[in-house]
């Protein structure tokens, strides 16, 4: 993307004011998206984003500048701005000698989406529209979106690191609106993978569409969700966001270091039910949060965060790992070249337990069964979190009964982790997510087996 001699000169220039570390992050991303709504392909959109972000660290201060001007003078100007912002203690520029070739180290995807015709992408959406509408006359509106991107990344720093990656993503989403005597209801499904077009050889997109419509129609007969604290069973593959919010963010070392996490100082302690083993793994082939290298150039890896309920490790980026004298964990990520990296999750999931999922429902006298969770958020300092349930049912006498209208669930992370009292043996990954932190969104994955939380607050309106 950029000549290595130029990268070396830019990094050397960035340390001219005495900074101890400088990094160059370059990306070149091409993307295509298509949207269908109201029975029409509304538009096909293609875009290109490319640019470079330069980070300079002097003491505890980070300077950052970015530019879309990839010429050597443009890069040197950005290096100058970042160095001025970091204001090192003086001294000369460092000589930078890069090792490695900056090429991706993992195999390329099967069929790169930019080589697939736009007509094929549009046809996918038309099939989704047709399938979603075929489910029933109650379906009054369908919207669907397709998106793909191919991002080439190059990271180099004054430690001599030179690493590259090619990140290909495909995403599909469908939402359906059903109308009935009780008003309108919605259903939503999505799939996202770090694979090429070959994913559509194995995934039936029309099933995804029918599922969205089924959800919307089911909710037409939903009653208001209960209000109060109840046992909640969460279906496999739909509730990984629970762990993302309840403890994932709290295990990010930047928040831990500032004392803004309830999990600060808890390493080696029992923080969850002994049933729970939580892993963050950026290497899982094809998953939405998967990367070859993180956005600081380090290989992603599988990190066990909680083992049998005991907190074993936090997640780290360059700054936090350097300060604590340990190896990075491959969790330094950023939204784009316009953003500073920080500690982020990749694919975060709970490993299988031993319970039969049917037994979990049967063992629940009165509670809520959540078949699909929406987004959520957490206050890491208090551990209080919420997430939305977008498909849920009442459990009465050990059986799943009436569908429920949408609502939020709320709880406290450390408490909920301890309250997990049954864990299924049916692990599944969930749909693609976008995790927001400090104004930056990055793609993440999550997963879990069916499980039960003994007590969660269900935010409905029914007594």
């Amino acid at each position: 993307m950029i000549d290595h001699d130029i990268v070396e000169r830019v990094l050397s220039s960035a340390t001219r004011t005495g900074a101890e570390f400088a990094e160059l992050y370059a990306e070149d991303k091409r993307s295509t998206s298509a949207s269908l709504d109201d029975g029409r392909i509304e538009q096909v959109n293609t875009g290109r984003d490319r640019g470079v972000g330069i980070r300079v660290i002097a003491g505890d201060t980070t300077g950052y500048a970015y530019t879309a001007d990839l010429s050597e003078p443009g890069l040197l100007a950005a290096a100058e701005a970042a160095a001025a912002a970091a204001r090192g203690g003086g001294g000369g520029a460092r000589i930078v000698s890069l090792t490695g070739d900056g090429r991706p180290t993992r195999p390329p995807v099967g069929r790169v989406p930019d080589e697939i015709s736009k007509a094929a992408k549009v046809e996918l959406l038309q099939r989704i529209d047709e399938a979603a509408r075929s489910v029933g006359p109650e379906i009054v509106q369908v919207a669907a979106g397709y998106g793909d991107s191919r991002k080439r990344v190059l990271v180099a720093n004054t430690d001599g690191l030179l690493a590259g990656d090619e990140q290909v993503r495909v995403l599909l989403r469908v939402s359906a609106v059903a109308d009935g005597d009780t008003g309108m209801q919605t259903g939503f499904q999505s799939m996202g993978h770090t694979t090429g077009w070959e994913i559509f050889d194995t995934v039936d997109v029309t099933a995804l569409a029918r599922e969205a419509s089924r959800q919307a129609i089911t909710k037409l007969s939903a009653r208001p969700a209960p209000s109060g604290t109840l046992p909640v069973v969460i279906e496999h593959g739909s509730g990984g966001v629970l762990f993302h919010e309840a403890c994932g963010h709290g295990l990010e070392a930047d928040l831990v270091a500032k004392g803004a996490s309830v999990y600060a100082g808890q390493s080696g302690q029992l923080v969850a039910s002994p049933l729970v083993t939580l892993v963050d793994d950026g290497t899982m082939p094809g998953e939405w949060g998967t990367l070859g290298i993180d956005d600081e150039g380090h290989s992603t890896q599988r990190n066990v965060l909680i083992q049998d309920g005991v907190l074993t490790d936090y997640m780290y980026d360059h700054i936090r790992s350097r300060r604590e004298g340990r190896a990075p964990s491959g969790n330094g990520r950023r939204q784009s070249y316009q953003h500073l990296p920080m500690v982020r999750m990749t694919n975060t999931f709970v490993l299988d337990g031993t319970d039969d999922p049917a037994d979990i429902v049967a063992a629940t006298d009165h509670g809520v069964y959540v078949a699909k969770l929406g987004g959520g958020s957490v206050n890491t300092a208090t551990g209080d979190f919420v997430f939305g349930m977008t498909e849920a049912y009442l459990i009465e006498n050990g059986r799943i009964t009436s569908p429920l209208r949408d609502g939020n669930l709320t709880g406290n992370g450390p408490q909920v982790l301890r309250d997990i009292d049954m864990l299924g043996n049916d692990f599944a990954m969930g749909g693609p997510g976008t995790c927001g932190k400090d104004g930056q969104g990055v793609p993440v994955g999550d997963g879990q087996p069916t499980l039960r939380v003994a007590a969660l607050t269900v935010g409905g309106t029914a007594a």
Binding site: A68, A381, T410, T457, T461
Partner: protein, 444 residues
């Protein structure tokens, strides 16, 4: 600025016969300074630019963008090649100037543009120091100074040709209050068009008070009660309500108020206006995302739904005229529809006086998960919250880890008072104290 206009002009001039072409060209930059424990934690200085081109031919739309001003030809060619894949839409078309006069607004402050970096750093450090100074249980998680500028030009083959620029700055601070092993969080902010507008003391005091007020908070008992939304919470509520008044949602059958024009959808006490020509609004602007002059639109008057907000597309489809509510997220996408600068019609009494008349209620200081727990199509409303109970007309114990729930339809009808305290906030809606009856609290 003239550089952006000339790029837009050149793209539009390249339109082929039978094509409508719109070029949107933008450039912007920001400075972000975060301090921590008396040191600069990071200093980000950045610029970005880009071009977005929309082409409509025979009712079909294509779009492309690039994050570089040098790529105009490639973007135009890409947009053109995307046209053939869309479906013919008889209402597709660009905006046409409707003769509405532009309200001139002072959105550019030269003083801010010339402010030295050291002054910005000093203000961020002052914010951090002040925030921790009001209460010794409080420390600062992060304190930030941010400023940004943006300039853009839009031109079309239908005769639109506009350009403008604006800048602004803000302070934001997050705090942690600790007591007896418990931690609570708070935040504060201040927004302005120059450093002189920024009130570090107020931002710091708000952040300190919000955190300490919640110390000792417990999970409240479930039940139904009257809730009082703080202005910031009301503004978030209004932003969701606005999505039901969106003309595109209406024409596509997704608005729960689609058949309710001219009927009573809210308490007679409730009024709502969208007015981007009001210079007090943080999101004030002279033109909308399609280049039409913005205007004041009354959406709800005395509880009666007056009109929806429209872009030229949704208006054409609805058989009406654009209210100049096209919203553009940047150069990378085509404009959508949305409210630009909402303001509720204020009542007469301040918050304290309103609370003094409530026997059993809840003052909602913050909500969380409003994006996940509210379904604007079905109207189901459920959100996590934190705040203070109201007992016998007085603010009482703090509460947290609970939800409040109702439906949007019912909440509008259940509005029993609107405060006098209209507050301008760094979002597309202003806030006000809003009192809503019969809301379900789910807690212990």
């Amino acid at each position: 600025m003239s550089e952006l206009v000339s790029i837009a002009d050149r793209i539009v001039a390249a339109a082929a016969p039978g094509e409508q072409v719109e070029a949107f060209v933008a450039r912007g930059g920001e400075t972000e300074i975060r301090v921590y424990e008396g040191q600069i934690e990071h200093y980000v200085s950045a610029q970005s630019e880009g071009i977005g081109v929309r082409i409509i031919r025979d009712g079909r739309t294509g779009f492309a963008y690039a994050g570089a001003l040098t790529d105009a030809e490639e973007v135009l060619a890409e947009a053109r090649s995307n046209v053939e894949f869309s479906t013919v839409d008889e209402w597709a078309g660009l905006a046409v100037d409707d003769g509405v006069e532009t309200t001139r607004l002072e959105l550019w402050n030269e003083m801010l543009a010339e402010t030295a970096a050291d002054d910005k750093i000093a203000l961020a450090l002052e914010l951090e120091r002040l925030s921790a100074s009001f209460d010794d249980r409080v420390r600062v998680d992060d304190a930030n100074y941010v400023d940004m500028y943006g300039e853009s030009a839009v031109a079309t083959t239908t005769g639109i040709r506009r350009s403008g620029r604006e800048n602004g700055c803000y302070l934001s601070v997050s705090t942690l209050a600790n007591q007896d092993g418990e931690t609570q969080t708070g935040f504060g902010f201040s927004v302005g068009r120059s450093l002189g507008d920024l009130d570090a003391e107020r931002a710091g005091r708000d952040a300190s008070d919000r955190a300490t007020r919640l110390l000792g908070a417990t999970k409240p008992a479930s039940g139904r009660l009257t809730v009082v939304f703080d202005p910031l919470v009301t503004a978030q509520f209004l932003a969701i309500l606005a999505s039901t008044l969106n003309g595109e949602a209406v024409v596509k059958g997704r608005s729960l108020f689609r058949d309710r024009l001219d009927s009573e959808i809210a308490s007679p006490m409730f009024g709502l206006i969208d007015d981007p020509t009001d210079a007090r609004a943080y999101s004030a602007s002279e033109v909308d995302g399609e280049g039409l002059a913005t205007r004041r639109n009354e959406l709800i008057r005395d509880g009666v739904l007056q009109q929806f907000v429209h872009s030229s597309y949704s208006a054409r489809r609805a058989g009406t005229t654009s209210t100049a509510n096209a919203v553009r997220g940047g150069f990378a996408s085509t404009p959508g529809v949305g409210a630009l600068a909402l303001q509720p019609v204020p009542g007469t009494r301040p918050q304290a006086e309103i609370i003094s008349g409530i026997d059993h209620g809840l003052l909602v200081q913050s909500v969380s998960g409003i994006h996940s727990g509210v379904n604007a199509i079905s109207g189901d409303f459920s959100t996590g919250a934190a705040g203070l109970m109201i007992r016998g007309g007085e603010v009482a114990e703090p509460v947290r880890e609970f939800t409040i729930a109702s439906t949007l339809q019912k909440m509008l009808v259940d509005v029993i008072e609107v405060g006098a305290d209209l507050e301008w906030l760094p979002m597309r809606a202003a806030g006000v104290t809003l009192v809503i009856d019969d809301v379900t609290l789910s807690g212990a």
